[in-house]
Symmetry: C2
Subunit: 655 residues, 2 copies
Amino acid sequence: MPLPDEGRRRVVIEAVTPAIDAGLYAVKRTPGEAVTVEADVFTDGHDKIAVRLLHRPAGRDAWQEVPMRLVDNDRWRGSFIVDQVGRWEYTVEAWVDHFATWQHQLPRRMQAGDDITSELLEAAAMVRRAASRAPDEPSRVWLRDCAAALESAGPTAERAALALSDELTARMAALPDRALATRAPRVFPVIVDRERARWGAWYEMFPRSAGPDPERSATFQEAAERLPAIAAMGFDVLYLPPIHPIGRTNRKGKGNALVSEPGDPGSPWAIGSHEGGHDAVEPGLGTIEDFRWFREQAERHGLEVALDIAWQCSPDHPYVKAHPEWFRHRPDGTIKYAENPPKKYQDIYPFDFETEAWRALWEELRDVVWFWVEQGVRIFRVDNPHTKPMAFWQWLIADLKARDPGLIFLAEAFTRPKVMRYLAKIGFTQSYTYFTWRNTKAEIEEYLVELTTSEMKEYFRPNFFANTPDILHKFLQEGGLPAFRIRLLLAATLAANYGIYSGFEIGENRPAAEGSEEYLHSEKYQFRQWDWDRKESIRDLIAQVNRLRRAHPALQTNEGLRFHLTTNDHLIAYSKAADGDPSRLLMVVSVDPRMPREGHVCVSLPDDPVGEDERYLVRDLLTDRTYAWLGAWNYVRLDPDLPAHIFRLERVRAA
Amino acid sequence: MPLPDEGRRRVVIEAVTPAIDAGLYAVKRTPGEAVTVEADVFTDGHDKIAVRLLHRPAGRDAWQEVPMRLVDNDRWRGSFIVDQVGRWEYTVEAWVDHFATWQHQLPRRMQAGDDITSELLEAAAMVRRAASRAPDEPSRVWLRDCAAALESAGPTAERAALALSDELTARMAALPDRALATRAPRVFPVIVDRERARWGAWYEMFPRSAGPDPERSATFQEAAERLPAIAAMGFDVLYLPPIHPIGRTNRKGKGNALVSEPGDPGSPWAIGSHEGGHDAVEPGLGTIEDFRWFREQAERHGLEVALDIAWQCSPDHPYVKAHPEWFRHRPDGTIKYAENPPKKYQDIYPFDFETEAWRALWEELRDVVWFWVEQGVRIFRVDNPHTKPMAFWQWLIADLKARDPGLIFLAEAFTRPKVMRYLAKIGFTQSYTYFTWRNTKAEIEEYLVELTTSEMKEYFRPNFFANTPDILHKFLQEGGLPAFRIRLLLAATLAANYGIYSGFEIGENRPAAEGSEEYLHSEKYQFRQWDWDRKESIRDLIAQVNRLRRAHPALQTNEGLRFHLTTNDHLIAYSKAADGDPSRLLMVVSVDPRMPREGHVCVSLPDDPVGEDERYLVRDLLTDRTYAWLGAWNYVRLDPDLPAHIFRLERVRAA
């Protein structure tokens, strides 16, 4: 067995966290957030060690570093703040600190009555070696003078005091001998996204249905009329399903009918016609210039436009003729449409990612996304990413974010848990979730504990859509507007990112069929007109909740979510506090859309108890009413008209 | 961002277990044991995948492989048996199985009434490609005939039946197209030790105290007189503290006195004198030849001799003059003795592992161990490994085991948990534990659950010493012989490896001082004589327990340990079953040495319930008495004279 290159690195560094799959994948942050790193660090014997957390923006040579402190049981902790968007990295370095060891032992020797003359000479030698590492002459002089004093014939007690002095301690700590330092076996990556990745309220709409004429597509110009109302509800992101030309071959009719009628617009996800493909705009909506104009209008209203990426083609897509090698073929040479037997999707040709021409395909698709970036789009909702190869996404996202690290990719994967997690690991900025199917108190608590306290919190940013064009949950179908209020309040206060699909604000809840989660008269297959001003609406509540989200940092992060006990299984209570914010927000939500529910809520948390006699005020930010509460458990009653409290806890701590 | 070399590997393999620190360290096994491997494996979309577990003795080119099966939630499992000592390795490979996907879809297409003519042609093409991969002409012919039949104009139903037939399925599964297979990102190591590493009963003795004259060292010849009695107690390993010449300078006197009296033999751990160092034998014991003779005698009695490795020198060690550069020096040039201020060990010079000459030092120490291997010693108990660099042990053990994979190294580290675990990770075969300090039911259960159910079970083999020359626990000091019985029974039935230090069998329990765990008249510093035949003895119980250990595979492994409920906090109950053994052993032990304890024990385990009306027999292997039990909960009573049952459960299952 060959000897190692250097056998004298005595410190061991293990179990660095956070480390997704041992550092294979990045943790995610936004500027201003901390990366708190821990590691098991130890050495043989009784020597003292020094441990440093090293960090830098990726690509830079020089590391910044901060000391790590011993927590307990050989666990060390340190923290750094990321202050710019892009890739970062960190690692841990540690070494035996002989001077600190010496300092630790000296008082023990003195208490034992030992002669420390020889020890003082050892210290002097260490100080002289540090002097030789000092970067400037004054330091060298100071340390050499100090060494001389330690070696002198002066009183032992005085020399010992000098050896243990704060100034010498600090100077020696600043000039460590790191020749035999150990580095953690790898560098751990961080992806720092812009703030919008961390929090935002999304609104999804079909622009073609936003016009005055139900027989034709609205134009972007007409759709822009909706922008003030959407902005007034306080949304941050406006997400549009695909805006590209729609195929005519096997076009789906209303309600997903196999055959379309004349005038049926088809599904926006059946992309491509003779009018163009993924880099073109459906003529009914307008031109590329019209889209750019619409995007600018949206931005003037504080709405960032997100586009859909759906890697599939209608049979009429220009790719089909130009690149038949990108598709699967039958033995007779015809191209295969999408299917998951017995289901068939005749209006769609999937790409064949096993094509020999995969390189050209990957690069083309990457270029398509970049085309839209050049049109000013920096947020993309990716359709069914779990049906395309993982390696493709890993490359595409890394490639594009290397050009523009502010890009945001939301994974629309509703699939098995490990696949959803993997998509987040390999680069998706945000992820759709199971939230729509988590409706009871127990389901919600269990899911949120997983999302916000497991390792997932480091890389999986949930975006809680309360509905989508594909998901109208039974809870909404059966619960009416109160159910919409409940789901809005939960989504908007449980997750820093949430969204609704238009129609939600007016309680649209007619299913395509009994037991179906599809909408009746789904906008996916036809033009619709909506009465946005109708009386039955929760738009004011949405506006109010989004205002609170903008005002309270606690609602802009998933950190610090804690569930509170209640005496009623229909009442769910949780609090959030942003880092450094002394007052928590306490949400109490009734998950019953049918009747009023009452009970007691426990304000205490195991690590933040409320005294039995403690009196304090809670202000409901939704009603602006203030309540005087006493002790941990207090009474609440919520009814379907306003099924939540959002309390600001204003407890004054006894010092 | 450059494209990957191959973008069409669509399968993802994650979270392979067992994998110590992501595969950096080996799991441990003995021949005949299984390595059961799991991994998260999935691909995009709906395609079927095939997953294989690959394994081989390290250094061999060809992999053996077994299929892995889907457990649940994208988790796959497979298993292989290691059948020879040495290093092994395993990994996981998986690929999209297009033929299986096709087979899965076919019945669904047929039920939907689809025309499957084109699909049959696709299958034929896949079969033809498989034929081209077939290793022999008959297979090629069979497959080509099959393809022709699939392409024929025969009845569709018949062709579909052929396509789904067991024979074609098996042949296609045996000839997969693995060109785009994914391999787990690394190979995972296994260390396969000989069986003695897995289980054994150790007996520790100072041979110098086994003679007729308390004024001088016993010789190996005299010490051999003890072998029949030790063998009769059923021990497997006879461990001797260091047998090397002992230094005279600063030799410790009786009871660890700073100054020795004439005739005091000194501590065997103060190694080295003008008579030799680590490769010599203390003249009082005899010569190297005497040692070899003693070792052979022990082997004739079924006892394998283990030696002590203690890397430290007396001031008189030949190394001190020959290699002063291997030690630490004071500013005045003298060599520093060992210390942990204010504690001093003046009779010992530690090696300076930070010496520039570390390479020569490492190689010399490695050669010392190999010297003893050449004398026929293959088990080493390593003294205080945690005070020498971890990298040194990792190299030394790997180097020596590369020469003789049957070597066993027991780490005598009583230190912080992560350091103890790390020593096991980097190569120690077995480890001392906290067992001596775990005496209550709660302490024992918590510790054993950690050892036998956490990841530690894969690499940390506990050796439960009930006492050592350094550890005489208060429980033994206060509890008398009943306490010795309890600790023996616990050690011998909880852990597959356990040991006692001589004197345990006759209940030696006088401490050096109140509150001390040191023995009075410690053998570490003086010759002793023992009355091995005295009446107060548990040697018959030891013999009986060791016979049971040899007869019952369940006691030769730490696998399958389960704790059972009891109604008394002084009664601890646990069962063990070796793999494939239908009858469990159920141990019930009273941990109270003072008085009888009674209560009920629950035979049921959550996954192995006992019916309310179930009648069955339990035979106590210690008393050979049989009890008729009914249902899950049954009464037991234990007293200090025999504080345990070792039941053989003979339940007959209703089919």
